[in-house]
Subunit: 295 residues, 2 copies
């Protein structure tokens, strides 16, 4: 199959950005300036890159953003105090604490301290619970919600489809399963969750109409595990040593793309697939938070 | 196979009750009387039966309980006001609002109004979210937690097991999947969630080591859908017309017990399987709530 089976995540993300920018303009015409606060602790290089990308996208869409940079020795209680102040600060409709955090800080406690109304990452237990219950008034975590939008806008039928999710993490695998098994339009799939302790992962994958790979294992999904015509979504971002690269490594997905792409019905490239969608949903969630606050 | 493959839910529930009664005694020796408030709205006959059973079990274990009976015309806002008072009432560590509620009252709003700390049913979004995130400081919903205990105390290995959950309801199916797919001892299963829109339910069931039937369809699981030796847990309670019964109906599970029992490795009878476990976990959750409040 030619490369016309690629799902263009950048193009779909841009469709969403266009819609988000219009919603920002509407809010501004009513005197509301959507605001987003990034909190970064320490100098993790990847975190700097990610926050930088989100800052630039915010600016492009007309969302005001600021970044609070704390040093790596910041105590947890100091961070929690700052978050409580930000929860009360009406200029910011969304608060994003960039992971990873230093080891002496509990991500779970931090995520539970951000107000659920400003939790545009969808990590607060209230929002996780609402997702699982099928309630529509929470925030969905950005990556699985982004994958869901990719499927919808690529006209992939999920109703009655056999879906295999590779990975059971809190950020992708589990919420992805919760989204796709719901009794809902664009969901209603039969979902199997496979993970490191699963014994028949290959057999499950071979039966699947849709595979979402979020295991965190470089090129885990091989061509002989994929049914011809299946839809393959690659969420993985893995570092693989590469002496020819200037950093000494290259980034590789969870899918053996070169061999899977020819047999897949549709497939996301990586990069250029899921990544741009994560940011698109983050911006969408921020505007939703601003709209709710304005009501 | 003889009937020695039965999982005796009453006996296992009694083991838990013994432990719970000891915890109640410990609390009382420290001056804490565990208290549980039941709220019943209207005169639904099944609700009266269920609340009655729970009242008697509370009394047997030394838990103080009271039942607030409201008439079917009670407004939602009146009920929410009462729940807020009960949230602040330190005599009651657990609050249970018996379903079903009259149609003019939203169960979701009611469940979100009970304090998460007193939500011994495990229905509040915070507790649902904590369950999904694998946090241990919430309350697990009683029926799926009861099934989990049945599996553990029947020495059924879940690690790496193929599990099929029939049904994706908020009370059983979804939380059951969340419990069994966790990265945890007594979990770590490969979980497939099938439901009314699934197309290959029989095929999935035939591969399963463990099947949890919570579909709400009388005798849905037939013998030809079960792998010999599989563990079968029947959560269903369905009314089937029966002119020979004095009420005109009999209660039937989701499993065709007569034909599945001979080939199953282990199987729950129904009644006498999951039902008693639901109450056992409810009482356990109540005592846990009292212990946390006492700290």
């Amino acid at each position: 199959m030619a490369a016309d089976n690629l799902i263009d995540g950048r193009a779909i993300a841009d469709q969403i950005h266009t819609d988000t920018a219009q919603r920002v303009a509407s809010l501004k015409s009513c005197g509301v300036q959507p605001g987003l606060m990034f909190v970064r602790v320490g100098e993790d290089p990847a975190s700097k890159v990610y926050v930088g990308m989100k800052e630039r996208t915010s600016a492009r869409l007309g969302i005001h953003s600021e970044t609070l940079v704390l040093d790596a020795e910041t105590t947890q209680s100091h961070l929690l105090g700052l978050l409580r102040e930000l929860n009360a600060d009406r200029r910011f409709h969304g608060i994003l604490v960039q992971a990873p955090l230093p080891k002496h800080i509990s991500e779970q406690i931090v995520y539970s301290t951000v107000s659920p109304d400003k939790d545009i990452d969808g990590f607060h237990p209230v929002n996780v619970g609402k997702l699982m219950l099928g309630a529509k008034d929470g925030f969905r975590p950005c990556t699985p919600a982004g994958v869901h939008e990719l499927l919808i806008r690529s006209e992939v039928t999920t109703t009655g489809a056999e879906v295999v999710i590779l990975g059971r993490g809190n950020i992708v695998g589990k919420p992805m399963a919760a989204i796709l098994c719901q009794k809902d339009q664009h969901a209603d799939a039969t979902v199997t969750i496979c993970h490191s302790r699963s014994k028949q992962t290959a057999e499950h994958c071979r039966q699947a109409d849709i595979i979402v790979a979020a295991m965190g294992v470089a090129e885990f999904l091989k061509a002989d595990m994929v049914k011809p015509g299946a839809v393959v979504i690659d969420v993985g971002v893995n570092r693989v040593a590469d002496s020819s690269a200037k950093n000494g490594y290259r980034l590789v997905g969870d899918v053996d793309f070169a061999n899977v792409q020819p047999i897949a019905g549709k497939i996301t490239p990586n990069p250029g697939g899921v990544g741009p969608m994560t940011i698109a949903i983050l911006m969408q969630n921020t505007v939703t938070a601003a709209e709710r606050a304005a009501r």
